[in-house]
Amino acid sequence: MFRLNSQPSGCSATVTIVAASLLGIGVVMVFSANASLSSSPSSADILHNATFRQGVCAVVALVVLLVTCLWPYEWWRLRRDTVFQPAVFLMVLAIGLLAAVLVFGEERNGARRWLSLGIAGGGLSFQPSEVAKLAIVVFCAALCGRLGIRIRWFWRGLLPTVLALGLVVGLVGKEDLGTGVLLMAVCAWMLVAAGAKIWHLGIFSLPALGGVVYLICVARFRIDRLLAFLDPYADPQGAGYHPIQSMITIASGGWWGRGLGAGIQKYGYLPEGRSDFIFSVICEELGLIGGVAIIGLFVVLMWAGRRAMLSAASDFGRLLALGATLILGFQAVMNIGVVTVSLPTKGISLPLVSAGGTGVIFLSILVGLMANVARRRHKEPRRNNVSG
C-alpha cells in the first residue's frame, strides 16, 4: 500500500505549505488573543493553556497532514468482498460519537458539542462534529466512487446515500446548525458533482430546508441571532453584542493594524477571540492587509484543491479533493462571513487557524487527503477509473 515512488507535485507542496502557514498563524494568533490580564499563565495548568494546546495540536496536525499526504487515499475507497472498509468504519465512528455527545456531551454556550475525555484525557475535550466532517467527505466520495453511474438511480443509488449522509448531517445539525448546513451544502454539491440527477436532489431539498427552518424555530437564540444580524444595534448588549464587537475589532485595525499583540478588543470585549472570532483579532492586530492575506491563503488552497480535482485519476479522488476543498472553503467563508457580519452569528471556526484541537487535526487530515490526491495524479491504475 505504501508507494513512495510517486512524484510529489508542486500542487501538493503548495497545499502543505499553505496549510502549515495557516496552522502557524493560528498558533501565533491564539497566543496573542489568549493574552488577558485576568489570567496569568502558570505551569500547573499548562494543559489548559490555549496557546500550548494549540501549539501541540498544530504539530500533531502537521504530522497527521504529512502522513495522510503520503498514505495513498485509495486506502479509503470502498472495497469489494471484504468487511475491511475504513470509510465505513470512520462513518460508524462519527455516528457513534455524535450519538454519544447527545447523551454524555458537555454543554457550552447553549450547545452540546463537546465530549469530555475525563481525567484520563487530562481534562481535555473532543468535538465529534469535526470527525463528522472528515467522515462525511470520505464516505460520500468513497460511496459515490463505488456507485459510479448508479448514483443516478433513485431507489438503489441516491436514496441510501442521502439517508446515510442525512443521518450524520442531522445529528450534527441538531446541536450545531452552522456545521450542519455546511455539511449539507458540501454533500449536496458532491452528489451533484458525482452525477446525481438534479431533480432527485430537488426532492430532498424540501425536507432539508424544513429541517433547517425547524431547527431555527425551536431554539430561541437562533432567532435572536438572526434578528441581531439584521440590526445589531437594536440590542447592543444582548444578541447584537457579538456582531458589533466583531466589527469594532475589525475597524480598530484599520489598513495596517495595531501591530501583532497590540489589540485591545481581545481584553474581554470580543468574545471567543481565540476561536470563532480569531479573524477579527487578526484584522485588529495585522490590519486589513493581514485579513486579506488570510483570505488569500484560503484562495490559494481553493486553487490547489481545484487543480487536485482536475488532475485526479479517479472519480473517488476527484470527489475527495472536491469535498475537502469545499469543507475548507465553505467553512472559511462562513466564519469570515459571520465575523464581518455578512452572515448571522453561528459557532463556526476558521479552519486551521482558530483554537480547537479536534478541528485543527481533522481538517488537516482533509487537507492531507487533498494533497494526496494532488500528488498521485494519473498514477492510479486504469481499472479504478472504471470500476471505482
Binding site: L37, M247, A251, G253, I264, L288, M302, G329, A332
Partner: protein, 584 residues
C-alpha cells in the same frame, strides 16, 4: 458526460467560493472605509476613559517670597455608588461601614448613595486621617476609595486676610486676590487616557491621550508680610486701646506706589473663613470711602500755594473759634486769633482753611481735588475699588467751597488719601498704586512684571510739595496736632484728622458722636521711604477720639518698626541714645 459534469460542477462551486472570498475582502474594505469612523468612536467609548490630572493652584507670596496662600494635598474619601449591587441592604451595609470609619451618619450616607444616580464620584469626607485611610483600605468596600485632594492653606493665618481672600471648596477664588487673580492662580487640568479591559480594569495608557496638567501661576505681591504684620498688630492694639469698632492701615512706598501693607482690623482667618461674618471680608481700604476731615487740609493748602493765592507767613484771622460765613457758623476745636498760613494747617483751624478755600474759589479747588486723584478710582490692581465722592462743580453750593478745605462734603478712600499724600512726600508726583508685583510660572519664569507701573501725573510743582512737607507737615508733628507721631531718630511729617462719621444715607452727623480718627504721615522727611495712613473707626469718645491722640501713636509705632526693618538711615541726631530708645 458524467465526468464532464463533475469537472464543471466542481470548478463552478470553487469559483463561487473564490468569488465569496473576494466579496468578503470587499466587505472588509467596506467595514473599514464606511463604518470605520463610527465603529472607532464606539471602540473609543468602551475602551478609553479620560482621567483628569489635577493642577495645583499657584501661591500668593509677599515681596520676599513668604507664602500668604498656598496649596497642599490631603487625603479625602470618595465613593462610586454605581458599582454597588442594586440591593438596598448591600448599599446600607457599604454605607454603614463607610460611615463608621469616617464618623458620618449611616442613614444619610446610604440615602446619598441611593440618590446619587449616575454620579460616580461622591466626596464623603475631606481631609481624613492616615488611620481612617488605613481602615478604608482594610474594609475593602468596592467603590470606596481615597484620593489626593488639593486644598488651600494660609500659613500666616489671618495676615492680610481681606487682601488675600479665600477659595471655595470647588477651588474657585471667591474673594480678594484669590478671586481677582483666579485666572492666573488657576492652572489647567491635564488628562490621561486610560485603556481599560472589559471589566473596566485599567491596563494601559494611550500615548496620544496624554496632556500634563499645568500648575497655576504664582502671584508676587508688593506686600511685605513683616510690615503687614506690624501694621495689623499696632492697628489692633490701637483699636483695642480706644475701644474702637475697627481700623484701616496702609503703608505705601512714596516713590513707586507699591503698597507694602494694607490692613483691616478686625480681620479674619481665610483658613476658617466660614467662622467670620461677611463684613470682615471687605478690604475697607479701597471699598469704604469716608469724610477725611482735617487730613484733607494739606492738599487744599498745597493747591492754594501753587495757585499763588496765599503766601508763606501770611496771617489769617481765625475769629477766635467762631465765624459766621453767610448763614453758617463755623467752629474750631480750639479758638485761635491770628494764625500764619502755616499754623492754619499745623493747628488745623477750620476757619482758616475755610478762608483759604474762599480765596481759591470753586473752580481751582475742584481742579486741585481732581489733580490729587480724588473722586476717581486710583486704578489700583484690586477689585471692588470705590471712587469716593467729589461733587461735580455744577452741584457745588456756596458752602462747598468752605466745607471741602476742612474735609467735609467729600468722601475719599484710605487708598486715595495715601496716594495723594505720597505726592506731597515725593515732590508732587501722582503715582499708580499697585499691589501685584509679578506673576511667575510654576518653574519660576516671569509671566508678567508689574514692578514699574507707568502712569504718573503731577499734582503740584515739586517746590510746593517740598514746602508743604518741610514747612507745614513737619511742623504738625514737631509742634502741632501730631506730636504723638514723633520719633527720636527720624523726622516724621504728617497730618491728623478727626472727622465725624456721617449718618448713613447722608443728611448730617449722628448725635452719638461717631468719629474717624486718622493720621497720615511719612518719614524720614529728607528722603521719605514710607507713607503710613491709619484710620481708626469709632473710637470710644470717653477715652479719646482725636486723630492726634488715637491714630498718631499707631503711625508712630508702625513707622518706628518699619523704618528699622527697612534699614532706613536716621536723619535726626538723637539727643540721648537710651538703650530702650534705639529704635525710636
Amino acid at each position: 458526460m458524467r465526468s464532464r459534469r463533475s469537472y464543471l460542477a466542481g470548478q463552478a462551486i470553487i469559483a463561487v467560493v473564490v468569488a465569496a472570498f473576494l466579496g468578503l475582502v470587499g466587505r472588509l474594505v467596506y467595514i473599514n472605509a464606511h463604518d470605520g469612523p463610527q465603529l472607532l468612536a464606539r471602540a473609543k467609548r468602551q475602551q478609553r476613559s479620560e482621567v483628569p490630572l489635577h493642577h495645583r493652584r499657584g501661591m500668593i507670596v509677599d515681596c520676599r517670597g513668604r507664602i500668604l496662600s498656598g496649596t497642599l494635598l490631603r487625603k479625602s474619601a470618595f465613593m462610586d455608588p454605581t458599582v454597588l449591587p442594586e440591593k438596598e441592604d448591600a448599599v446600607e451595609a457599604a454605607a454603614g461601614t463607610a460611615a463608621r470609619i469616617l464618623g458620618l451618619e449611616p442613614g444619610e450616607l446610604s440615602q446619598g448613595f441611593l440618590a446619587a444616580g449616575d454620579r460616580r464620584f461622591l466626596v464623603l469626607r475631606r481631609g481624613i486621617t492616615a488611620e481612617q485611610e488605613e481602615h478604608i483600605k482594610q474594609a475593602g468596600i468596592y467603590g470606596l476609595g481615597v484620593f489626593d485632594e488639593p486644598y488651600r492653606v494660609y500659613p500666616m493665618d489671618g495676615l492680610a486676610g481681606a487682601l488675600v481672600g479665600f477659595v471655595a471648596a470647588d477651588g474657585h477664588g471667591v474673594n480678594g486676590l484669590e478671586y481677582q487673580c483666579d485666572a492666573w492662580l488657576r492652572g489647567e487640568n491635564g488628562v490621561k487616557t486610560i485603556i481599560r479591559d472589559a471589566r473596566r480594569k485599567a491596563f494601559w495608557l494611550a500615548e496620544e491621550g496624554y496632556r500634563p496638567a499645568r500648575d497655576g501661576f504664582h502671584v508676587v505681591l508688593t506686600i511685605d508680610a513683616e510690615i503687614q504684620a506690624t501694621v495689623e498688630r499696632e492697628l489692633l492694639a490701637g483699636v483695642e486701646r480706644f475701644a474702637a469698632e475697627g481700623g484701616v492701615g496702609i503703608v505705601m512706598h512714596p516713590k513707586t506706589g507699591a503698597i507694602l501693607a494694607m490692613a483691616n482690623v478686625p480681620g479674619f482667618d481665610p483658613n476658617d473663613y466660614g467662622d467670620y461674618g461677611a463684613s470682615l471680608y471687605r478690604n475697607r481700604a479701597i471699598t469704604d470711602p469716608y469724610e477725611p476731615g482735617s487730613t484733607f487740609k494739606p492738599f487744599v493748602a498745597a493747591a492754594a500755594l501753587s495757585e499763588g493765592v496765599v503766601k508763606l507767613g501770611e496771617v489769617f484771622d481765625c475769629e477766635d473759634g467762631v465765624w459766621k460765613d453767610g448763614r453758617r457758623v463755623l467752629h474750631d476745636h480750639h479758638p485761635y486769633g491770628l494764625l500764619t498760613f502755616e499754623d492754619v494747617v499745623v493747628k488745623s483751624s477750620n476757619i482758616g482753611m475755610a478762608k483759604i478755600g474762599k480765596r481759591l474759589g470753586p473752580e481751582r479747588l475742584h481742579r486741585a481735588l481732581k489733580a490729587f486723584g480724588f473722586g476717581d478710582k486710583t486704578g489700583v490692581d484690586l477689585s471692588g475699588e470705590d471712587p469716593g465722592m467729589v461733587q461735580s462743580l455744577s452741584r457745588w453750593s456756596t458752602y462747598t467751597t468752605t466745607s471741602v478745605p476742612m474735609g467735609h462734603e467729600i468722601s475719599v478712600t484710605p487708598l486715595q488719601l495715601t496716594r495723594a499724600f505720597c505726592a506731597l512726600a515725593n515732590g508732587g508726583e501722582m503715582l499708580q498704586p499697585f499691589m501685584i508685583r509679578a506673576v511667575l510660572a510654576a518653574d519660576g519664569r516671569v509671566v508678567r512684571d508689574f514692578s514699574d507701573p507707568t502712569p504718573r501725573s503731577r499734582a503740584v510743582p515739586a517746590k510746593i510739595a517740598k514746602t508743604m512737607k518741610d514747612k507745614l507737615l513737619c511742623a504738625v508733628v514737631n509742634r502741632g496736632t501730631g506730636k504723638k507721631a514723633q520719633l527720636a531718630r527720624y523726622q516724621v511729617f504728617g497730618k491728623t484728622g478727626t472727622a465725624q462719621i456721617a449718618a448713613a444715607g447722608g443728611g448730617g452727623y449722628k448725635k452719638e458722636r461717631a468719629y474717624m480718627a486718622s493720621f497720615i504721615g511719612a518719614a524720614p522727611a529728607d528722603d521719605p521711604q514710607v507713607v503710613v495712613l491709619v484710620a481708626i473707626r469709632r473710637p470710644d469718645p470717653s477715652i479719646a477720639y482725636g486723630g492726634g491722640a488715637v491714630a498718631a501713636p499707631v503711625v508712630r509705632e508702625i513707622l518706628s518698626h518699619t523704618l528699622a526693618y527697612l534699614d532706613v538711615a536716621p536723619d535726626r541726631a538723637t539727643a540721648s541714645l537710651t538703650p530702650g530708645g534705639v529704635w525710636d
